[in-house]
Amino acid sequence: MARITLTVDGAQVSDDVEPRMLLVQYLREKLGKTGTVVGCDTSNCGACTVHLDGRSVKSCNVLAVQADGHEVTTIEGVAGTVDGELHPVQEAFRECHGLQCGFCTPGMIMQSIDLLNDNPDPTEEEVRLGLEGNLCRCTGYHNIVKSVLHAARSQGVQA
């Protein structure tokens, strides 16, 4: 077992974990952060995407011990409060019907936030390429792409 201490969604947590434990397992099983989900075993689907020090990572592809001393943000930490104001990207996904079953959604939103941090005013093509690592089976991506473009526009207005 290895002792790790990290910040998750703004709170400091500390646990003994098996060295082989994945970050996503740590989030779900130890912290109960079940908003982040597991969709595959091969880091293809991106459903488990979280932010590690502000950049998107697939949390099935990071060991919990690698997050020691770092800051993790999950889908549960991006909105201001539980029932309060949504992050503009969350709001855009709702506004544009960018989700159906919602299973890929946490990863899609986390990836989209990262994408827009890098490129606040992307073209449709840039959005599509930027989301290539996240699979969705419900939406055909049409409304996900629309959501990200919508968020870019609404963030632009705010800025």
Binding site: Q90, Q100, Y141
Partner: protein, 831 residues
């Protein structure tokens, strides 16, 4: 249209944002795998690596000694309490249906079948211990190739179940001449061979994997008076019935919950070995247990879809008017006849004639057992296969006649004046307007301009050629009239149930037997209730997916939830209004005859007196002052059984660019105009269409479940099974025309499967159209760059065909008027 249009409809037709989304976008979700119960144990499955083998021995000792392992069990450790996996649709009385144990102890029939289960304190420890289970197998010959399996018998060839003496499970036939719904197809074909046109083709419907994003998961808690199962399923009610029917537990002692379910597409319309094993283990150990599959397990063992060879003969006169269609299918069931099983291709039987007026039709389907994962429903279930075949054939007929493929369709389709129309397969289409949808789609698409561009590119010999693909589809959905299902030997009905509970505060709880897994029922159903009952959208709560709450239901599949479940809802709401009417009259001291109900309010005609439905609910809750003898409740239930299917249709147009040097295909434009009757929520409808389109496009271009020569699934992860990404797809142009259904109050038709049914042939027609002038008349799906390149470079023959048989035609080519009938399917040779 009835009562809804007498009141202002403020919700129906409005693009309400979904109620479901607040939780889903903030991560407050209840996927089955999120559920953790005190003392819960975890399961890992031990699966056969062989496609067909007898189990010589199973040594569980080492696994039992592993850390934190509670027990390890094999099939031999269970008796009848393990139950069986059921087939609900024996398509013929003599169907061969091998007994399907969730965990066989004698013989495995596909690579991935479960032979033992490990129970441990953590999922990781269970998986570690599963590695220690030592199973010795004696390999048997495996039936893998569909055509070879169909031909095998005791004298030769591998048998999936040797004791059956054959791999043939059932032969299902419909013949319009025999049924009296049309003429004799053989006569039509003979006539066409003499001066008419005969198109003979063999098409492959490759095996697909539904690949819902949430892997299946099941939790069973045996610690209550009712045993509770949470499962990532589309069918909690059917599961409850099947558990009771097969595991010896009283139905009244079973509660099944489908919490948040992450997609299904038919793939979670199953009674699975994993559920049955988890159920049995929980009862054995007396503790809550959970099993969550890995993605690899999901792709390997959750049922697959499609997998047919289609042998097709289309007869027409020389002008292109179709005179007959003959369809022979071979359908791969996999190693068992699963829940719907052979019923899937049978659902397609009624759809090969599509939107057309064919005078003669014959369909036969031979279902075949093989040593592969079982097949069952996948989005569209039988109808995409049928639509693909006929829409491809109509393009081939157009090429033969030498006219635009839309002209051939116009010549043969049912015109809007002809509805209701009884088809050659015996269905009555209630409404539709193919001309209107087509006209709109062609205008949006810029059809003529694109044809002109195509000609320019052909004339100049452009390396990148342009192809236009048409799919004018219809489907039967809204499963389904119970009588029809009964006549087809399906084991259940097709009704749906709804209940409306008027709460004391005027809020409304609505119970539905439909079981959403991404469709947005909570939003759309709330809109229906809000309009009809005249209450606020926000005041309606939709409850579903738990047999303790929604005690009756037949769940969600076959685009049925709105057209069957929504109608049940309308009827339950109407009963509430009728129960409230005498209360309103009593409280308003008026005659019932003087009351009118509008926008949620009973008012006395000619006065300003009135009461809202919520106020009446409060008065009924208090029950202080009710009419004499009245039951103090407004709550009402309704169960609706439709008299007919319903028939959405649409015109889909696709433009594909094909690089003739590399075989690469690029989608340029996709336009569809769907007629799904009246629309409750256009936002949700658009989402359903988009998602369906991409699944259908993916069949055309990318997806295929591939097994190696040993029967191992080699496309068993998302590295190998090619789901499209955002970067592979484009944005779509979707529109609608409206021909309301006449068989439900709201005039709605199903939409869940439409995109997936329509898009596959539109795409392949476009790809073939792009290179037809180079001598290509077919490319096998998925149309990979390699297959396209081979087709372009070898002309019509296009490469090996996996031993493809000559369809209805003999060695002499059968007299069809194509150069090489039958050698139409083009699959790249193995490199």
């Amino acid at each position: 249209m009835t009562a809804t249009q007498e009141r202002p409809a403020v919700e129906i037709g409005r693009d309400r944002r979904r109620k479901e989304d607040q939780r889903l976008i903030t991560g407050r979700t209840r996927w089955t795998d999120n559920i953790t119960l005190p003392g819960m144990l975890h399961l890992a499955m031990v699966r056969s690596p062989f496609a067909h083998a007898t189990i010589a021995s199973v040594d569980l000792e080492a696994a039992r000694q592993a850390p934190n392992v509670v027990t390890v069990l094999s099939g031999a450790d269970f008796g009848d309490e393990l139950g069986v996996c059921i087939n609900a649709w024996p398509i013929t009385p003599d169907q061969k249906t091998p007994n399907h144990s969730p965990m066989p102890s004698d013989r495995v029939t596909f690579a991935g079948e479960i032979v033992a289960v490990v129970v441990a304190r953590s999922a990781a420890e269970a998986r570690d211990a599963a590695e220690l289970v030592d199973v010795e197998y004696d390999e048997l010959p495996a039936a893998l190739d569909l055509k070879e399996a169909a031909a095998a018998d005791e004298t030769g060839g591998a048998l999936a179940h040797p004791d059956l003496g054959t791999n043939k499970s059932a032969l299902w036939v419909f013949d319009s001449g025999e049924a009296g719904t049309g003429e004799d197809v053989e006569a039509a074909i003979s006539k066409a061979r003499d001066g008419g046109i005969v198109i003979e083709r063999e098409y492959r419907q490759q095996r697909l994997i539904p690949a819902f994003m949430e892997p299946r998961s099941v939790v069973v808690d045996p610690t209550g008076e009712q045993l509770t199962m949470w499962s990532a399923t589309q069918i909690p009610h059917i599961l409850r019935f099947a558990l009771a029917a097969t595991t010896g537990v009283s139905e009244s002692k079973i509660r099944v919950i489908a919490p948040d379910v992450g997609g299904g597409f038919g793939g979670k319309l199953q009674a699975t070995p994993e559920e049955w094993i988890t159920w049995a283990v929980a009862r054995r150990v007396g503790k809550p247990v959970k099993y969550t599959e890995t993605r690899s397990e999901s792709l390997l063992s959750a049922h697959h879809g499609r997998d047919q060879w289609q042998t097709l003969t289309l007869a027409a006169d020389k002008d292109g008017r179709v005179t007959g269609l003959k369809v022979d299918l071979l359908a791969d069931l996999g190693s068992y006849v699963s829940l719907v099983g052979g019923g899937v291709p049978v659902l397609g039987a009624f759809m090969f004639n599509a939107i057309y007026k064919f005078p003669a039709y014959r369909f036969s389907c031979q279902t075949v057992l093989t040593n592969k994962t079982w097949t069952d429903a996948y989005r569209g279930a039988g109808r995409p296969e049928a639509t693909y075949a006929i829409e491809r054939l109509m393009d081939e007929l157009a090429a033969e006649v030498g006219v635009d493929p839309m002209e051939i369709r116009k010549k043969n389709w049912i015109t809007h004046e002809e509805f209701p129309f009884t088809t050659v397969s015996g269905l009555e289409y209630d409404s539709g307007n193919y001309e209107a949808a087509t006209e709109k789609a062609m205008a949006m698409f810029g059809y003529d301009e694109l044809r002109a561009e195509q000609k320019r590119r052909r004339d100049t010999g452009d390396r990148v050629q342009l192809g236009l693909g048409i799919s004018t589809f219809t489907e039967m959905c809204g499963l389904a009239p119970s009588r029809v299902l009964g006549s087809l030997d399906y084991g259940a009905g097709g009704w749906e149930h709804a209940g409306v509970r008027m709460l004391a505060t005027g809020k409304v709880e609505v119970v539905t037997g439909a079981s959403a897994h991404g469709q947005g029922h909570e939003t759309a159903f709330s809109q229906i209730v809000a309009d009809r009952l005249g209450v606020a959208f926000e005041d309606v709560e939709i409850l579903h997916g738990d047999t303790q709450v929604a005690h009756k239901g037949l769940d969600t599949y076959g685009s049925r939830s709105l057209v069957v479940g929504g109608e049940a809802l309308v009827r339950a709401v109407d009963k509430v209004i009728e129960k409230a009417r005498p209360v309103a009259a009593h409280l308003l001291e008026a005659s019932v005859d003087d009351l009118e109900f509008e926008a949620g309010r009973f008012s006395v005609r000619g006065t300003d007196q009135g009461m809202a439905i919520g106020e009446i609910a409060t008065a009924v809750f208090a029950a202080h002052n009710l009419p004499d003898g009245m039951e103090p409740s407004l709550d009402s239930d309704a169960t609706f059984d439709p008299v007919n299917f319903n028939f959405p249709h649409g015109t889909h147009l696709c433009a594909m660019e094909v690089d003739t040097e590399t075989g690469e295909t690029t989608m340029r434009k996709y336009v569809c105009v769907d007629d799904i009757g009246n629309i409750i929520n256009p936002l949700i409808v658009a989402g359903q269409v988009h998602g369906g389109l991409v699944q259908g496009i993916a069949q055309a271009l990318w997806e295929e479940a591939v097994h190696d020569e040993q029967g191992t699934l080699v496309s068993g992860s998302f590295v190998d099974y090619l789901l499209p990404t955002a970067a592979d797809t484009i944005s779509f142009e979707t529109e609608h025309t409206t021909s309301p259904a006449t068989t439900n109050t709201l005039g709605t038709k199903g939409v869940g499967e439409a995109g997936c049914i329509a898009s596959t042939p539109a795409v392949v027609n476009a790809v073939v159209d792009a290179v037809r002038h180079l001598g290509v008349n077919d490319i096998q799906m998925p149309c990979t760059p390699e297959r396209v390149w081979r087709a372009v470079n070898r002309g019509t023959d296009g490469g090996g065909t996996e031993g493809a048989a000559m369809p209805h035609f003999g060695d002499d080519g059968g007299g069809g008027n194509q150069e090489q009938p039958g050698r139409a399917s083009t699959e790249g040779d193995p490199a």
